[in-house]
Symmetry: C2
Subunit: 403 residues, 2 copies
């Protein structure tokens, strides 16, 4: 199984290069199934057209529209493979048996019926599956949301029991930090599913969160690598398959969130539910939550959410503030989240303290802290974010191969 993203198939020349790579894999004796994204800017162009005919494009129709993009790239790649003398066939998500629920724009795969893919592979064909899309039980075309093509690739790889799911992208793999922020960032040879989940959730763009979840659940070995070279990238595997477990695998950063604080909430049982249930009902995804008990039996509740959800959240927050008898609420958009991720953290209790110390030494103020067993995240002022990443990368000596 191979998956190629939008930049890898951005124009006919690149499609021909992908075709060569696919054919070379087949020539090495493998059965090859390929998932492709839409060509480069195609999805954005289609969204722009939608915006010109409609103020709020209907989700079902938007899915019908956008899925044309992968249909185009998959057909072109199949043609290019055939041109090189190998038999190939393109399949839509529906034809590849990707059955989803009805949630247009962010559908989840509920069933995989890969018989048609299997038959074509057994007939010696290279199968090209249009990524990002599926079909609902009522025969409507759906899309899998952001990074959906990664999810398609992992799901089909699981269905086919593929040896590996290679995710080809425009970077060399997963790095200890964003190389644009930290020039000395090092490519990781392997990370665990759990680390990759935390990295993706913390802002690393290389692989979509849901595809990693799917890979972990179904035990699919994922190999993230560059479509512009031959070098090995990063393997994403089970924890027991990682030979040398580093304490810290990588640092992720995310500047797309905003911080909301609800001030002076009476400290009574059940308050948190009354704050967060209306937000959940409004489909707003809350990330970090902190509650500080303050004076006089009242506390402040702070949390982060995507900046893009702020307009939808504001009226809900007005309602919530009244509902819980709060003293008010504030927003802050100019924040950044920096996260340290590493499975080795579990047996190294000093990591959090090291992190806070390093940030303090650099004069960077921490606004919110949140942790999991393999991750520590700090919200800092937006202007401090890049520097925080650089300082932590140095502090934990991530540039050198042997930590």
């Amino acid at each position: 199984m191979q998956k190629y993203g939008g930049t890898s198939v951005a124009d006919p020349e690149r499609i021909k290069n992908v075709a060569k790579r696919v054919v070379a894999t087949a020539a090495a004796g493998h059965q090859v199934c390929v998932v492709v994204s839409a060509m480069g800017a195609m999805t954005d162009q289609l969204l722009e057209l939608a915006g010109e005919v409609s103020t709020h494009p209907h989700p079902r129709e938007q899915d019908m529209l956008l899925t044309a993009g992968e249909r185009i790239s998959s057909a072109l790649l199949a043609m290019a493979v055939i041109e090189l003398g190998r038999d190939a066939v393109s399949l839509t998500g529906s034809q590849a048996g990707i059955v989803t629920d009805e949630r247009h724009g962010k559908a989840r795969i509920v069933e995989l019926r890969p018989q048609r893919v299997l038959d074509a592979l057994d007939a010696g064909r290279i199968v090209i599956v249009a990524g990002f899309q599926g079909v609902s039980g009522t025969s409507n075309i759906t899309t899998l949301g952001r990074g959906g093509s990664d999810t398609t690739a992992v799901a089909v790889a699981a269905g086919l029991e593929a040896d590996v799911c290679e995710i080809y992208t425009d970077v060399d793999g997963v790095f200890t930090a964003d190389p644009r922020v930290v020039p000395g960032a090092r490519k990781l040879d392997a990370v665990t599913y759990e680390e990759m989940l935390e990295l993706a959730a913390s802002g690393a763009k290389v692989l979509a969160l849901r595809s990693v979840e799917y890979a972990r659940t179904h035990g699919v070995a994922v190999h993230v690598r560059s479509s512009f070279g031959e070098a090995d990238g990063t393997w994403i595997v089970k924890e027991e398959d990682v030979l040398e477990q580093a304490i810290i695998s990588g640092i992720a950063s995310d500047s797309s969130e905003a911080k909301v604080t609800i001030l002076g909430v009476p400290d009574k049982p059940g308050i948190a539910g009354r704050v967060f249930r209306p937000l959940a009902d409004a489909g707003i995804h809350i990330d970090m939550i902190v509650q500080n008990v303050s004076a006089a039996g009242r506390s402040d509740i702070s949390f982060t959410l995507p900046q893009s959800d702020l307009p939808a959240a504001e009226p809900v927050l007005d309602v919530i503030a009244k509902l819980v008898d709060a003293q008010g609420h504030t927003y802050e958009s100019d924040i950044g989240k920096v996260s340290l991720i590493g499975a080795g953290m579990r047996s190294n209790p000093g990591v959090a303290a090291d992190m806070f110390e390093a940030l303090a030494d650099a004069g960077i103020n921490i606004e919110i802290i949140s942790t999991s067993s393999i991750r520590i995240s700090c919200v800092v002022h937006g202007a401090d974010l890049e520097r925080a990443v650089q300082i932590l990368h140095e502090r934990f000596e991530l540039s050198s191969a042997a930590q």
Copy 2:
């Protein structure tokens, strides 16, 4: 049933105009099903991409590629209709139940399963069907060939037992001749299916031949009209429904064919079959055929075929010439065919003589003649074609409403 061609949906503004027209029809109390072509130059752009990755794009993959065009326009039109406050849903050819044979690029409809269209209409929705496409019995995406969206519209109209199939286009209807060639050409209020078939077969571009065949077979009333105005266009109906039958309905011309002559063929039984069977087997569509008995028991066989088929025909012709012991063969590309069409011709035996006389008076040489009961076609030199149309239009007084 309404059908809008590529120019009618060429950009977001025009799509919004089509949406208004569709909504107005629904507001007048009609159930509305719409078939759309791909936006303007979309199909050509996709073909160009195909040409850049493949010298001979695989027909199945080309169909997968091209059908994305109508998927895009149908989704955009559905969004635009919803924006105007009416419920709408776009359906692919497959979802609309258009089942075809497997002949990619020129599939024929073998079955119509319009239940999903009917259900949506009964639920009060405006249904937008992606034209030009269907699905084969083995679940491959197919296209219906040139003018395929017209065929989709007529077929779905037949399946739904629609009152009328309105074909919206960028001209006002069917004219007595091409208005660019004959400025005084007159719009026809009505023509018979048979006349329209002959017009389409003789080079009139307004409606695809197969859609007219389908309309005739299934008795679908077709109304060809402009999407840029409100005026009535041309009705295509059964002969008994045309009130005043003109002798000549219109003049069509076609400069896309070439003439082939096989010289000195021995005059023996079975020769014609041995000439035309290999061409038919090669998928080459032969139009007019004339055989002139010449001296010494040998004859010349001339016929016309699309210029685009010449490269494929040449090697076949070499084989044929040897096979039938001919003395050689010649090609002529610079020819034109002018055709007079009218159901009233049947009861007016003098029409052919009038036509030949008019061309002779103008010094135009006739190379081949072919006739049906309601059509007379003459092949002339390419340079004479426009003048031939103008002269015949005047000779048969087609500009004046009362002939």
